[in-house]
Amino acid sequence: MVEAVWLIPAFPLAGFVLLLLAGPKLGEPRSGWLATLAMGGSFASSVVVYIGLLGKDAHGDADNDRQFVQTLFEWVPAGDFNVDVGFLVDPLSVTMTLFITGVGALIHLYSIGYMHGDPKFSKFFLYLNLFAFSMLMLVLGDNMLLTFLGWEGVGACSYFLIAFWFTDEQNATAGKKAFVTNRIGDWGFMVAIFLTWTTVGSIQYVDIFDSAGGLPETTATAITILLLIGAAGKSAQIPLFVWLPDAMAGPTPVSALIHAATMVTSGVYLLTRMNGVIDVSAAWAPSTIAWIGAGTALIAATIAVAQNDIKKVLAYSTISQLGYMFLAIGTGAYVAAIFHMVTHAFFKALLFLGSGSVIHGMDNDQDMRHYGGLRKLMPITSITFIIGWLAIAGVPPFAGFWSKDEILAFAWEDNVGLWAVGLITAILTAFYMSRQVFMTFFGRYRFADVRTEELEELAAGKVAHAEAAVSEAEEGIGGAEEAVVKAQEKLEKAQEKLATREADMAAADESDEKAFDKATKNLDKARDGVDKAQTAADEATTAVEAARDAVRTAQAQVATVDAASMGSETIEFDLFSAPALGDIADEDLPDAARARREYHPHESPWQMTLPLVVLAGAAIVAGVMNLPFSSDLHFLDHWLEPTLVHPAHLTSGAGTKWALAAVAVIGGVVGITAAVAIYLQGRSPARKVELPLFARAWRYDESISNFMGGPGRKSFDLVAWFDATFIDGAVNGVGRLVRTGGGQLRRIQSGLVRSYAAMVAIGAVALIVWFLSRASF
């Protein structure tokens, strides 16, 4: 039955080829069903191979061993370097294929619902099948080079799928970043292959396993560190983790399959596969692995605490959980690492698919601040998500509890510091996952709220409006003041006239009655004029006062708007109450905000919820794979034993183990309780834990970007400049020197192509003629 192993990758490969040839013709949803069927076939084959392997003896003789190599054809037979395309069937590879194909098939099914209506529907499944094929080559390959083929293959598919919606520049950049960062790790893997080959003389795992014990310590250490570099790239560990959060730009099923359950665990697989080499390396090498894992676990967990994007939380959580697996490998607990890898594949795929279901139902909104109270609106999604939460938070008896507990126990025996970091991470994990669940499924339904950024925009509009009123009023003052000046001028003129009239009056001959009357009339008129001008001036002055009042009022208005809106530039988000609208009228709200009130979040179709239910079931019971109670229950331990050079066992007594488990449970409870206090009951403001440093991911990514965009780019520019100026400049300089050197030459080098042409042609003809004349045949 194990001979059927070639079928496992053959199914998705066939799916890929069929979709390549006929994908667009099949269209939606048939191409999706075809791809899902291929994965189903692959899963069925894996089960068959698994049963076949179970039938063999764990420590049997060569024919009945749980280690079977199937060689298909010679791939690269060059000199002493002979590499076949062949599969290694052993407990480790079969464990990997089972969950890859199982979870993979579910995610394929889910994608049929999720990708509904996408114009590139069939292309998506083409990439998914190609990915599955590459991933299976990675774990089934019987030599390092074939693993490397899968390794880079999954990287390429990841690049295709992150940049799937490529018209958005951001997605394209994220895809490129993932590929290039991974390539840094691939460099380490590649050099590790070189070193293994030059010392062992073979890169077949069977040979490496058999002869690794004879490796000199320095070589083994070097190979281990190089493999660690490779693994850190693929599994997003310090310092190469920056690509994974950005990879969330891809469609959510991709995040679940590639960036949570399968591809990112490749590093853990590779290190486990090469455990024979790590075993003989210097002690500091595995310690480095453990501390890198622990450090990554902790840092990523702190970042997850302050993220608002539902997928970003899960991305950092994945990095953190992968850190646990590296921690396990560093302490020699390979089985614990694989155990956690499998349980993590279940609950993290579940959480990602759940988040996809939420995003799907929430009009593609990924911000958890806009969720809340979805428990009743999306019952299946929320119940399954809650199961995933309990599993990752380490609540017994859910799967994550058992695997994490085992890692922590091994860490305790290796180094208390590692254990402490692991425990703090566990508390943080329980905290940020509870935060996510509470913000999404519990509390107030916030989708219909007017959003803080909308309010900020409105407030900004109001302020601008009031400020416009102020400047208008200020203009009014100007006008009024001009009127005052004019009125004053008129008054002066009227007074001057009055004075002249008074003088006229005085000079007027009283005897001349006619003239006297006229003067009196004139005087009266002048007096009237003065009175009128006086009134006008008074009025103008009042107007100025009024204008000044208007400015004052407008300014007061600005102040009130400022104060009412937020006092500062931003409105703080409050989980528990909708932001106050103040005097903002309903019709002033943006259309989007009003449209959201009419929006009804909905549960996803069955293609999406069925995988959720199945994965939730797995997340509940997967712990039974390796229960700690008695040796008979260590199924995974016994199963994987033949693939390990030195299977590690816990040496602590039962009392210590119980105590450690109790501490871990208490840690989980502490994390959950803190989240309840902050995110359900509002006893303490969230900003106390959501530190800006965490929200900005410790500024690590931005520092790298700044470096690459700054000094990095400049140094590259320098090389290009050097090439043009010095290397090429020297050549052109010599040319110029020759050209100006001799007059004879100058005439020839007149730059005309034709003259060269003639010369060369004449030379060639002369040469041929000479040859022919000397020829003796």
């Binding site: 080079l145 083929l149 880079e152 394209a172 070189f194 080959w197 290009a720 060639a764 020829a775």
Partner: protein
């Protein structure tokens, strides 16, 4: 007498098929010149016909190739040419030249059919055919003088192709190309003559026969090193190796598309092939002595070319600089002087021909459609031209060295060969694959991803004819990535014979090979073997 003997050994007294490979294109060119000018479309058809005939013959040679005797020169064809000087028309093919001959024979008809001449088609196609004859001659010649003549002859048609059918600063580029490479090979002529006469002084026989000269190894060690240097300079310019590479970006950028394709796919291999056949084979001791220096230059080329490619604004220039990096891999593989490295180098010669040849074609088609190669003016092309983008992607991934495609196998073998010989250089060279991903993916993003605006939004997708032209490239790219065995096993005897030749003639030299650890019974015992692992 000698020549007759060789011809008999070759066992091809019937039809001089190798001579036909060289002469047929010349006949084609002459026929073109005789054709009247009133039916210009006939020129292209006729040129395609002749080059296809050459292609068919090369394919026949491939199927007829005797793998068991791949180390021997087959189909040998030898005539005394200038008896007094010991010069002969001597052609032969072995497992090393086989693939380059096939590559040449396949690329030419494709380059001819893929793009129309912009003007004066008669001369254009005639020059292309002459070029083909010259390239074939270089790969087949077993006489140093004949080799030199062919090596020089190829310059003439390429000079005219760039100078008259090129774009931009074509006169400058053509002149630079011509003078640069001419300068490099001038010293080689001195070297060839010195070698022949010094060999005559030692052995009493004046000959330019490659095999005889290689087997006699009569001249003094130091002299041989100087002569090797004169050869190496010519080849280094042709490859091109850092720091004599700057003619390449100018020539590539300004050449017509077919010129760029042939330049990249075939002509750069004249240098790397020369290193192998007329460097390592002819001067084994000097090759060993100079190997560290050449590996160093190759490594610098890998990193330097990749960095320079990253900063280019012209898409064609970017691909040109990527060639400098790719050819660096071939050089480090060749001078690793072990089976893996040399086979990787030969594979990489073919791979680079496929992937870079195809890239230049695709870039040429973009230029035809958009009349620009400025990366900043392109963008979002995947939207209007998804098929084009998909083909470009596959070719690009081949160039990046993605496993499963052809580029990986060659690149990996050169690196692992170099690692066995010069560990640290290989470690540095391997980092070139990171930068390769950076510049190609970045270019792809700027050209194909993002929103498509203006003329970009309506760019025509790949036509059926273009897809048909791309098909052989894509087939080669996938086939040689998945199943390179038929290619490797046909070259292996020749490569191993070459290495044995070097080991035989160079004292204290052993080709760098991996160590072998046997199975250990008890794993992880502290008392395990502690063999020193430093090479």
């Amino acid at each position: 007498m000698q020549s007759l003997l060789l011809a008999a050994e070759g066992g091809s007294a019937s039809f001089p098929v190798l001579s036909a490979l060289v002469i047929l294109p010349v006949i084609g060119a002459l026929t073109l010149l005789l054709l009247p000018n009133n039916r210009p479309e006939n020129f292209k058809q006729l040129a395609f016909l002749f080059s296809s005939l050459v292609g068919a013959m090369a394919i026949w040679i491939l199927t007829d190739f005797d793998t068991a005797h791949a180390a021997d020169f087959q189909h040998q064809n030898s005539h005394t040419w200038i008896e007094s000087l010991g010069i002969s028309w001597h052609l032969g093919i072995d497992g090393i030249s086989l693939w380059l001959v096939v590559l040449t024979a396949v690329i030419f008809p494709i380059a001819i059919i893929a793009i129309d001449a912009e003007h004066t088609p008669k001369a254009y196609y005639a020059w292309l055919l002459i070029l083909e004859a010259g390239c074939m001659g270089v790969f087949l010649a077993l006489d140093l003088f004949a080799f030199f003549v062919f090596f020089e002859i190829v310059l003439i048609p390429m000079y005219f192709l760039i100078g008259q059918w090129g774009h931009g600063e074509r006169a400058y580029a053509a002149t630079k190309f011509f003078i640069y490479t001419m300068f490099g090979s001038a010293l080689m002529l001195v070297g060839i003559l010195s070698l022949a006469f010094l060999n005559q002084a030692e052995t009493g026989v004046l000959t330019f026969n490659l095999i005889e000269l290689a087997e006699s190894q009569a001249i003094a060690t130091t002299t041989a090193r100087w002569i090797f240097l004169s050869f190496a300079l010519a080849f280094a310019v042709k490859v091109p190796l850092f720091p004599v590479h700057t003619w390449l970006p100018d020539a590539h950028t300004n050449a017509p598309t077919a010129g760029s394709v042939i330049l990249a796919a075939v002509m750069l291999k004249l240098g790397t092939y020369g290193f192998l056949r007329f460097g390592v084979y002819l001067f084994p001791e000097a090759a060993v002595w100079f190997a560290p220096a050449l590996v160093t230059l190759g490594t610098i080329g890998i990193i330097y070319g990749a960095i320079a490619a990253t900063m280019q604004r012209d898409l064609k220039r970017l691909v040109a600089y990527s060639s400098v990096a790719h050819l660096g891999f071939i050089v480090i593989g060749t001078f690793a002087l072990n089976t893996e490295g040399i086979e990787g180098g030969i594979l990489q010669m073919v791979n680079h021909g496929l992937s870079t040849g195809a890239l230049f074609l695709l870039v040429g088609w973009i230029y035809d459609r958009r009349h620009t190669r400025e990366i900043s003016e392109l963008g979002g092309l995947q939207k209007p031209a998804p098929f084009f983008a998909g083909v470009f992607m596959v070719v690009m991934l081949s160039s990046i060295g993605l496993p499963g495609l052809n580029g990986f196998v060659g690149e990996f073998l050169t690196l692992i060969g170099a690692f066995a010989a010069h560990r640290w250089w290989a470690v540095v060279a391997a980092s070139g694959v990171i930068i390769a991903a950076l510049y190609l993916l970045w270019a792809y993003q700027r050209v194909f991803h993002g929103p498509a605006e203006g003329e970009n939004a309506t760019m025509k997708d790949l036509t059926f004819k273009e897809a048909l032209i791309m098909a052989p490239f894509l087939f080669g790219i996938v086939f040689m990535g998945v199943y390179p065995k038929p290619v490797i096993e046909r070259m292996e005897p020749a490569v191993e014979a070459l290495i044995e030749h070097v080991e035989f003639h160079v004292e204290d030299f052993e080709s760098p090979r991996p160590g072998h650890l046997g199975p250990v019974d008890d794993h992880g015992d502290d008392g395990a073997v502690s063999e020193e692992d430093d090479h």
